[in-house]
Symmetry: C2
Subunit: 158 residues, 2 copies
DNA sequence: ATAAAGTGGATAATTATTATCCGCGTTATA
DNA sequence: TATAACGCGGATAATAATTATCCACTTTAT
């Protein structure tokens, strides 16, 4: 039971897009290269972020991706949800039904507890936004962030 | 990202073992049958529960499994941990390293948040015990539980 | 001795996740 | 208006995780 690596990649991708000047756009391949992700699969992740309305895509020669929302309006949870989907961490496989020979389907003693646990988990993921991560990275890694900014200027298209 | 079905099966297995008279023991195959689980794989799950000191096994002709702890001392979390292992839901894949070209390995902006989220999730799983589930099942499904008790008396060995 | 149980290792089957490929639509620009 | 660089979506393959099976072994009641 492990979170998909796509969630982490997406978070950093969005962090990069957040450094992009307004109106500018960054090709998917450039991002995937910088993150060391497989280009084709990473494109799929970007699609999910587009579907979730977190980023927008621009087709054509000077196309690419950019943020759709402000950094303070993108919670880690939003990205998690976009990539992992809304299926819950736990779903009963109906063991109770067999054990007690019940008529009704789908009843399980664990459902409520698990739902509560998941809510609790999600609540924490809703606490932090891209804006707060951006601040954190700026404070802790200023020189490296400067270099990244430089790279973005080279790769972006307007 | 889904919890293993083995966790649910294990919870109900332990619930069954909890209805067992003291000193009695129940063969693994009987349990797996009642739960509709694959016998051989279910045996592996039982092994994990033994390793986690939640149940004990007795080899030999009149062998089987029984609880090692009292129902009120077995939290859902203990079972979850026994089956899923202690690896966390999230582990960084080092994307940040590539993005910022850092020297240090293993630093990730998400680690703290994810750790906190997971703790929060675990806390909820620690709230409920086998004892409380047993009570719940007794209140809601009394007649069916009676039948289960009957079945246990048939299958158990002392 | 034998049969019924658990143990541990090797291995296969299944499912989920990650990755690639290709043909298509869109758009800047030569 | 042709072309090249990009995103889009579907099909498919490769890899990894999970679930399942098999077998030789130990233990123990009868």
């Amino acid at each position: 039971m492990q979170m998909k690596t796509g969630v982490e990649q997406s978070v950093y991708a969005i962090l990069i897009l957040n450094m992009l000047p307004d109106k500018a756009v960054l090709p998917g391949e450039a991002i995937s290269q910088q993150l060391g992700a497989s280009p084709t699969y990473f494109q799929k992740l970007l699609r999910k972020l587009v579907s979730a309305n977190l980023i927008t895509s621009v087709p054509g020669v000077k196309g690419g991706f950019k943020l759709r929302k402000k950094a303070e309006d993108i919670r880690i949870y939003d990205i998690y949800l976009a990539i992992e989907g809304q299926q819950s961490l736990y779903s009963s496989s109906g063991v109770m039904h067999g054990m007690l020979d019940l008529e009704e389907e789908g009843c399980c003693l664990l459902t409520d507890l698990m739902q509560e646990a998941e809510s609790s988990w999600q609540t924490v993921l809703k606490r932090q936004t891209i804006a707060s991560l951006y601040e954190e990275i700026n404070v802790g890694y200023q020189p490296k962030v400067q270099l990244l900014q430089q790279w973005i200027k080279e790769k972006m298209v307007m």
